[in-house]
Amino acid sequence: MQIYLPIAELSLNIFFLIGIGGAVGFLSGMFGVGGGFLLTPLLIFSGIPAPVAVASVSGQVVAASTSGALSYMRRNLIDFHLALYLVLSGVIGAFLGVYTFSALRNAGQIDLVISVGYLVFLGFIGLIMLNEAIRSLWRHKMGKDIAMKLPGQHNWVHGLPLRIRFKRSNLYVSVIPVLMIGSSIGFLGALLGIGGGFILVPALIYILRVPGSVVIGTSLVQVIAIMAASVILHAMNNYSVDVLLAFCLMVGGVVGAQFGASVGKIMRGDQLRAMLALIVLAVALRFAFLLFFTPEDIFSTSIISLSELVK
């Protein structure tokens, strides 16, 4: 059954849309990540214009993160004080991200930046994750079940000025790294159409030393806020949010995430991380092909609005 997407101005199969929403939701539930970094590329590769894909997936990420955040909130596993700082700086980052997006789009370079951005980030994160997971799997195979070395209590970040006490996280840390992390995730999220949870969570753990119990809940709050801000900003700046497309993805994503979560409970952590790393690297590789191999067609055309002409 075909469904006409009023902003993308093309029709796609509704079951395909709910299906990829569900498949990515399944993975995101299984691995505990938002899934935007998989969904945006999948939509772009299925012919949806990059601006529409980025903006609409942001809406989907809001929905996918909400059910998770609510469950963490019920269990009181969110540091709202820390989240407030992350959200405020994140929204500013999202602002910059959307404006950069518009400027790059007018210059005709948005596809390039999306490809390079995905290649660099996914490649980097994928390699780190794979390396870590393989080591862990290796240790498991050798029978030596060494506990992960806990990061030290302090590092250079904790020496910076303007320190604030975050009670829930049991932290006394400078706001500078907090705001920097918040705004860079907001910027990247708005630019690439990813929630950024898979970058934010390691950053909170390894840079700020946020305890593992509150890190996921707190990062979900920030992801919701910056993705909500990017949806509104993309809608106002680029008119590129397709609510029908976003809704199909949400429905698939929310349902898929539940099944993914139950499968995720059965599998071992290091196996999950190795699988996720391989998926992340596969997407990165797909973008590498776009950049390094001779394109099928070196010419492309797109409609531009009058307002873009004036600029």
Partner: protein, 256 residues
């Protein structure tokens, strides 16, 4: 005053019919005056039926062919940019671009046979049937590049099904009755379209008729499309609320 007007009108009518007395005209009708895009829209086939008839006052025996017909269908004008990738700094990136202003968003030429077979180039040029699909480029770039880019634009538009030529697109069902089937793809541009039909006989255009139709979004799709443009802030807020609600519902339905 009224009397003078009607006398002038009568003279005009007389002059008109006497000069056209030996000719034929086309009457035609569209299967749809409006193409409505709704949720299930996957493109549509538009049919134009036409009949060649002797003009009022003409003698019946003048309806002898052979007739040839050419139809141009044009969509609303838009601005398009054409970009060219090249290999720089070790990667492929868009390096050159050219903007084409006021380009028809849709352009099809359908005819009963090769246009060159039924009229001379001068006549085809005069009617705007030649040169085929040379969009007007607005840019500071040199002629040569403009030519390359405009050729590439036409090729890309043809691949999208938005531009095209079909030399068997006009089907004659009898000496005078003909029909045209027009395929509108699912990403057909929205706006007003014009179908102009040229009737050829003996290498001359003997009649020309234009008919308009419009493509527009309807119902829910129209509501979404216009609110996204006209009140983007509320549209964005609505999307966010919808997402929060869907996420909350999912969390409640599958409480874990």
């Amino acid at each position: 005053m009224r009397v003078i007007k009607s006398i002038i009108f009568a003279f005009l009518l007389l002059g008109f019919s006497s000069s056209m007395a030996l000719s034929q005209r086309i009457i035609s009708a569209l299967s749809d005056k409006e193409i409505l895009i709704d949720q299930g829209f996957t493109g549509e086939t538009l049919t134009i039926f036409g009949n060649i008839e002797p003009n009022i006052g003409a003698k019946k025996e003048y309806l002898v062919g052979p007739f040839s017909i050419a139809v141009i269908i044009q969509g609303p004008v838009i601005n398009r940019v054409v970009r060219k990738k090249s290999y720089k700094f070790g990667i492929w990136l868009n390096s050159e671009q050219l903007i084409f202003e006021k380009l028809p968003s849709y352009y099809w030429l359908l005819s009963s046979e090769k246009p060159e077979n039924f009229a001379s180039n001068e006549i085809l040029q005069e009617a705007g049937l030649l040169p085929i699909m040379q969009p007007f480029a607005v840019s500071t770039k040199g002629e040569g590049e403009q030519k390359i880019f405009s050729n590439e634009l036409v090729r890309l538009m043809k691949e999208k099904g938005l531009f095209g030529i079909n030399e068997n697109g006009v089907k004659f069902h009898s000496n005078s009755l003909y029909s045209i089937n027009l395929e509108l793809p699912s990403d057909v541009p929205v706006g007003s379209f014009l179908a102009t039909t040229y009737l050829f006989k003996g290498g001359e255009i003997i009649h020309k008729r234009s008919e308009g139709f419009s493509v527009r979004k309807t119902g829910f799709e129209r509501l979404l499309g216009t609110s996204a443009k006209q009140s983007p802030f509320f549209y964005g807020v609505f999307t966010v609320l919808l997402a929060l609600f869907t996420g909350w519902l999912g969390g409640v339905a599958f409480r874990r």
